[in-house]
C-alpha cells in the first residue's frame, strides 16, 4: 500500500495507477491524472512519496467538487425532481432516502409511481411512502407513465406541496422507445408545472464500470439531467467513473447511497469521496 517514507519511483507510480484503475476511474482518466501528478512532481510540487497521496486526494476532490451542490429549488411553487436510471440501479430506494432527507428539512413531499411496468414496482414505492409519511400518486396497472406523472403534478400543484419526486421504470439507454418515453414524461411535467422537472437526478449504480459514462451521456440526451445519485457505495466499489462523468459531461454527483435503509443517504462531499478512493 502507499505507506509512509516511500520515495517517488516507478514502483510508486505503478501503485497509484493500480489504485485508480481498480477504482473504476478508467484507463484514460487514470493516464491523465497520473501524467498531471508526474508533472507536479517534476515541478517540485510533490517532493516525496508522502506528499503524493495528499496531492492526489486534493486533485481528485477539486475535480469532483460540484459547483452547485443543493437541489434546484423552484422559487415559484412545487419543486419537481425526476429520478431516472438503468434497471436495478437503486432509483426507488433512493427516492425513499430523498423523502426522508426532505422530510427532516420540513418539506412536504409527494411521490409519483411512474414505473407502471415492472412487477410490484408501484407496491414497492407505496410501502416506502407509507413508512415515510409522504403523499403517494399511483396509476392503474400498466397505465401510461406520462399520464401518472401529469396526475401527480396536478395533485402536487393544487395541494401546494413543496416537492414532487417522480419514480420511473429502469431502462437501458439502448432502448429507444423507453428513452423517448422518458422525454415524454419530462415534457408532460413541464406542461403542468412551469420549469418542471427542476432537478433530474440520474441514479448510477456504484458498482458500475465504464458504461456509466455512456449511460449518463445517453440519458442526458433525452432528459435534462442535472446531477447524479451514486448508490451502493457501502460495498467495495469506489465509483471512480464519476471522474470521467464530471470531466466530460460536467455533471456533479449530488447525493450518495450507502445502504438499503432510508437513512443511508448523504449529500456528496468531494473530500470524503476522494479520501475513500485512496483508502
Amino acid at each position: 500500500a502507499l505507506v509512509k517514507g516511500r520515495k517517488i519511483d516507478d514502483a510508486l507510480w505503478e501503485e497509484v495507477e493500480e489504485i485508480l484503475l481498480t477504482s473504476d476511474v478508467g484507463p484514460d482518466a487514470t493516464t491523465e491524472l497520473v501524467a498531471s501528478a508526474r508533472l507536479a512532481a517534476k515541478n517540485g510540487e510533490i517532493l516525496s512519496g508522502d506528499d503524493l497521496v495528499p496531492w492526489l486526494r486534493s486533485a481528485v476532490a477539486a475535480r469532483l467538487r460540484p459547483d452547485e451542490a443543493d437541489i434546484r429549488w423552484n422559487a415559484g411553487g412545487t419543486t419537481v425532481i425526476l429520478i431516472a436510471g438503468v434497471n436495478g440501479s437503486g432509483k426507488t430506494t433512493s427516492i425513499a432516502k430523498l423523502c426522508k432527507f426532505l422530510r427532516a428539512r420540513n418539506k412536504t413531499v409527494i411521490v409519483a409511481a411512474c414505473d407502471t411496468f415492472r412487477a410490484a414496482a408501484v407496491d414497492q414505492l407505496g410501502i416506502w411512502a407509507k413508512r415515510l409519511d409522504v403523499g403517494f400518486v399511483g396509476g392503474s396497472n400498466n397505465a401510461d407513465p406520462a399520464a401518472v406523472a401529469f396526475d401527480a403534478a396536478e395533485s402536487a400543484a393544487s395541494k401546494g406541496v413543496d416537492v414532487l419526486i417522480v419514480d420511473t421504470a429502469g431502462r437501458l439507454h439502448t432502448q429507444k422507445n423507453l428513452m423517448d418515453e422518458l422525454s415524454k414524461i419530462t415534457r408532460v411535467l413541464g406542461k403542468r408545472i412551469p420549469g418542471a422537472p427542476h432537478e433530474t437526478l440520474l441514479v448510477l449504480d456504484g458498482t458500475a464500470g465504464q458504461n456509466g459514462l455512456q449511460q449518463t451521456r445517453a440519458f442526458r440526451e433525452h432528459a435534462n439531467v442535472t446531477g447524479l445519485i451514486v448508490s451502493k457505495l457501502d460495498g467495495t466499489a469506489k465509483g471512480g467513473v464519476v471522474l470521467s462523468i464530471k470531466d466530460q459531461l460536467k455533471l456533479p454527483v449530488k447525493f450518495v447511497g450507502t445502504g438499503e435503509s432510508a437513512d443511508d443517504f448523504a449529500p456528496f462531499y468531494a473530500d470524503a469521496f476522494s479520501s475513500a478512493l485512496f483508502g
Binding site: T22, P27, N87, D123, G209, G212, Q214, G235
Partner: protein, 301 residues
C-alpha cells in the same frame, strides 16, 4: 475498436517476417487499454497480456495475414478460451439448450445469489418459465424477506407464468427455503428455484444467511447473478460468494445494454465457474444460452 487500433499500430511498423518484442509491446498497450475500458479487472488484464505476449512474440508473420489481424486473432482466441469456449468453433444456434446439473433423486434445487439489483428475481422467473416449457414442474421460492414488495414481485411473476410460488407471511429465509424444498418433494415439483435477497459480500450477517440457506437446502446449482455492467468490483464480490457457498455457475444479466461486459471475463478468470446462461431483457422470455465467441467480440468492442 481494438481491431482498428491494432491496425494503426502495425501500419506504423514496417514489414516483418516475425513479430518482434517491441512490435508486440506496442500492440499490448492498445490491448490493455481496450480490456480496461471494457471493465476487465486489472489483475486479469495483466495475466492476459502476459499470455498474449508469450504467444505472439516470435510468431512467424503468416503470408496472407496482416500482423495486426494475426495479433487480434491471438487476443480473440485467448478470450474465447477463457470464457469457456473452443476457439475456432462457431457457437451452436440458440436451441434453448441451457445446461442444469440435475438432481439424481428428489427435486433439483437452484439457489440464485448476488448483489443488490443484479436481476435475481427476474432471472428466477425466466429460468422457471424456460424449465416449464421443457416439461418440468418448477416451484419458485420467495426468500427475500427484506426488500419491500419483493415477495409480491415474485408472486406477480409466478402468476403471469402460472408457476407456483412458495411464500410465507413472515419468517427467516433459511427456514422458508427448507420448508419449500420439503413442500416441493411432497407436491412433486422437480425443480426448486430459490430467490434470495440482494446482499453485499462484505455483509457478514447476510453472507452467513445465504450459507445457511445452502446448508439447509443442499442446492445442485448455486448461481451468481451478475449485472454485466459491473466494473472492477466484480472480482471482489464473486471471490467472496464463491469462497462462501461455493458457486456452480454465473448468470450474466442486462446484456441487451451496450456495456462491453468485461466483468464476465474477470469473474470466470477468478472463480473458474462457467456462465450458464444470460439475461437479454426484462421479459420472462429474455433468457439465452451463453456464447463465448460473441462475448469475446463484445468485450473487444
Amino acid at each position: 475498436s481494438l481491431a482498428q487500433r491494432l491496425q494503426s499500430v502495425f501500419s506504423r511498423l514496417g514489414r516483418r517476417t516475425a513479430l518482434t518484442e517491441s512490435d508486440v509491446d506496442e500492440a499490448l498497450r492498445e490491448i490493455r487499454t481496450a480490456l480496461l475500458t471494457a471493465d476487465v479487472h486489472l489483475s486479469v488484464v495483466k495475466k492476459l497480456t502476459a499470455d498474449i505476449k508469450a504467444r505472439a512474440v516470435g510468431e512467424k508473420v503468416i503470408e496472407s495475414v496482416r500482423p495486426d489481424q494475426q495479433v487480434a486473432k491471438i487476443v480473440y482466441d485467448e478470450l474465447v478460451r477463457l470464457l469457456g469456449g473452443q476457439p475456432g468453433t462457431i457457437s451452436p444456434p440458440n436451441d434453448g439448450g441451457i445446461p442444469i446439473r440435475w438432481s439424481a433423486s428428489g427435486p433439483t434445487v437452484i439457489l440464485m445469489a448476488g448483489l443488490q439489483g443484479s436481476g435475481k428475481t427476474t432471472t428466477c422467473a425466466k429460468l422457471a418459465r424456460y424449465l416449464k416449457s421443457k416439461g418440468h414442474r418448477p416451484l419458485l421460492v420467495a426468500a427475500d424477506m427484506q426488500r419491500p414488495a419483493a415477495v409480491e414481485q415474485l408472486k406477480v411473476l409466478g402468476a403471469s407464468l402460472e408457476i407456483p410460488v412458495h411464500w410465507e407471511e413472515s419468517g427467516r429465509p433459511p427456514k422458508i427455503c427448507e420448508r419449500a424444498v420439503a413442500k416441493a418433494t411432497a407436491d412433486g415439483n422437480d425443480v426448486v428455484i430459490l430467490d434470495t435477497a440482494g446482499r453485499l459480500h462484505v455483509d457478514r450477517e447476510l453472507m452467513d444467511e445465504v450459507r445457511d440457506i445452502a446448508a439447509r437446502t443442499k442446492p445442485h446449482e448455486v448461481l451468481l447473478v451478475l449485472d454485466s455492467m459491473t466494473g472492477q468490483d466484480a472480482v471482489n464480490s464473486a471471490k467472496v460468494f464463491d469462497e462462501s457457498l461455493p458457486l456452480t455457475g454465473v448468470v450474466l444479466t442486462k446484456l441487451d445494454g451496450d456495456t462491453r461486459g468485461g466483468a464476465a471475463l474477470s469473474v470466470l478468470s477468478v472463480t473458474g465457474k462457467p456462465v450458464r446462461f444470460v439475461g437479454t431483457g426484462e421479459k420472462t422470455e429474455a433468457l439465452e444460452p451463453f456464447h463465448p465467441d460473441r462475448m469475446a467480440s463484445r468485450i473487444l468492442g
